[in-house]
Amino acid sequence: MDSNALAYSIGSIFAWAGPVIFGVIGETITEKAGVINLSLNGSLILTAMVGFVVGTVTNSFVFGFLAAAAVGALVALLIAFMSISLNQSQVAVGYVLAIATKSLAYFLGAPYVGKPVMLLPQVAIPFLSSIPFIGPILFKQTILTYCSYVLIFACYFWIYKTHQGLILQGVGERPSAAYIRGVNVNLMRYIYTGIGGALVGIGGALYSLSVKTWNGQLSGFDGIGWIILAITIFGGWNPIRGALGSYMFVVLQYLGIVLQPLLPKVNSRIFQVAPFPLMILALLFVNIGNADWVDRTLAGLPENVRRTIAKVLRSMKTSPPAALGIPFEKE
């Protein structure tokens, strides 16, 4: 493979990473506020359908993305309403919506299968895209892929460098303390859940309007929502680490496709499954540092070995926002 073709195929990885990045950042924001949006797998498919249908019917990308963002926000707000205002389990509501929105997408989207396709054009950034090798990879993408780069850092900046971000962290970590300081905890949770859902919606539409089109059965996309939830954990609720996790995932998936011809006897669908055992392993790595038995086992090892292992475990370990999934009640 010559370097141009290689750059082109790596470029396609970054394109495919766009929807994943939007999903991970959206979910990170939502969970930072203490709400789990478990519906991701369904809402991504639903918004992919909505983005495609509205986009093709109105012949406008803008309307397609806006509609998808609105639907994504709506699904997320339903979870917020049912968990925050009606005290139902976030996991229960999220699970049902993950299943139901997928059915809804296939039901409502069925007549639009096979409609003429429009794909978001790639825009080469002048000057930057002519950098050898890296240029075509990073800077010959769709506008929304560029947005995903910006989003990662904007989100990081918002959470860790602004006053509003501090409030967001407070709402997710110690809601009662935030409340005492005059923060309307539940309102903040509604807002961030809605924003997160809208970002997820843009991710869904980005998939159907730039990566693959709506063909009634998004087999390559189905399951990604669950992976995104896992990447959010793997990323330790940090946008930059989450983005790195996303790119790692996309590269691994790409390797699966590239390596497949080497094992022609194995059914191609088995390769699609490969990310999931890796997901478990990744979660195991970031969580195992929290387990008691690990500490106990480590205590029996020689000091220098123990220290090295503990250091490695600590560097990988992540902990969720302290109030994640827990309803806030002012007493």
Binding site: Y95, V96, A100
Partner: protein, 364 residues
């Protein structure tokens, strides 16, 4: 309503009763779900009444379809029953789908070993069902161990193992277990001596049906009549306090995974010997995912799973003919089922909030 107003100074008393009564609140929920799905059907330019008619006819109009519904009710009921254990312990065993698949793989594997030997069919069927139970249990316990010792949330552990089970299944049916010459995602048909007996001319196996009903009784007894069930409930209600009170919570959670896996494995085994008579891709048929919704509505009362599972499976089976009759996508079944669960949860939440508010009014 006018009368109510004069009787009670509280203007909304009729509405309050309507919303706080369990029965009327549930009826409203079902009504809203039907209105919501009717709206969607109307958007799709179809007549909602016609659609519901097709679904009901598709599920109950003849003995033939009704027995198919009953046959499909068995796996859904068994999967939902297994989930009663994990739900009681406060766990989300999404892995149930893969556990069913593993049960089917193990059950088929045993029959494959004995195929062509002199061993009597009855013994092979019993062994294969036991193997299926083992397969489901192993797959469930793995998720439990990952949660207990690795800190991996059971939702992700379970999902991961679902996809791994998928991969194992695909590998087997397209690889070593594929019938000679073709690779169509299915093994060759079992010899008839390894089939559970079926009612003549239908797909219904009374044996499978009987096993499901015995399962229903067993789960009800374990959860509502034993000390184990009581402790499991305590673990689910308040894990920390139960631990402090001396219940080995980790062991109880693992036990609930094991029991759920037993039922899921049984489901898979019955799918092989009782209904499909082959091992094929998608043999778990989404019964696990649907079972989670049934279990959610049943609210850890095993007996209620039976009617809910029947309604859900009737919707699924009835909707299958929508494509032929009305050119609508059969995924409408999932939409109706999802809407039912969502509206039941909403009305339940509203009911509790209203009770809380009215109590507050009385106290203040």
């Amino acid at each position: 309503m006018e009368k109510d107003k004069t009787k009670n100074p509280n203007q909304n008393s009729f509405l309050t009763t309507l919303l706080t009564n369990r029965f009327s609140s549930l009826t409203l929920a079902v009504l809203f779900a039907l209105v919501f799905t009717s709206l969607l059907i109307w958007i799709m330019k179809a007549n909602p009444i016609r659609v519901f008619d097709v679904i009901i006819t598709g599920a109950f109009s003849s003995v033939d379809v009704a027995t198919q519904v009953l046959q499909a009710w068995v796996p859904l009921l068994l999967a939902s029953l297994g989930l009663m254990f994990t739900f009681t312990a406060g766990l989300w065993n999404i892995g149930v789908e893969g556990q069913i698949e593993m049960g089917a793989i193990f059950a088929y594997g045993v029959i494959r070993i004995f195929d062509g030997t002199e061993t009597s069919g009855v013994i092979v069927i019993i062994l294969s069902i036991l193997a299926g139970i083992l397969g489901g249990a192993i797959w469930a316990v793995l998720v439990g161990l990952l949660k207990n010792f690795g800190g991996v949330n059971e939702i992700f552990g379970g999902l991961g193992f679902n996809f791994i089970a998928d991969a194992v299944m695909l590998f087997l049916v397209y690889g070593p277990w594929k019938p000679e010459g073709v690779a169509n995602g299915s093994t060759k048909m079992l010899a008839t001596q390894y089939w559970l007996p079926q009612v003549h001319g239908t797909y219904l196996s009374l044996w499978a049906l009987g096993i499901a009903i015995v399962g229903l009784i067993i789960v009800t007894v374990i959860l509502q009549g034993t000390y184990f069930g009581l402790k499991l409930k305590a673990v689910g209600k308040n894990n920390k306090s139960s631990f402090l009170l001396g219940i080995p919570t980790n062991r109880y959670m693992l036990m609930s995974f094991l029991l759920c896996g037993v039922f899921a494995g049984l489901t898979g085994a019955l799918q092989v010997t009782g209904f499909n008579h082959v091992l094929r891709n998608n043999i778990s048929g989404g019964y696990g995912y649907l079972g989670l919704m049934v279990g959610m509505l049943a609210n850890i009362q095993p007996l209620i799973t039976a009617p809910i599972a029947l309604v859900f499976i009737a919707i699924s089976k009835g909707a299958a003919s929508l494509g032929i009759d009305l050119k609508l996508d059969s995924n409408l079944a999932g939409v109706i089922q999802g809407a039912l669960v969502i509206f039941v949860l909403i009305m339940d939440g509203v009911r509790r909030q209203v009770i809380k508010l009215t109590k507050g009014v009385q106290n203040g």
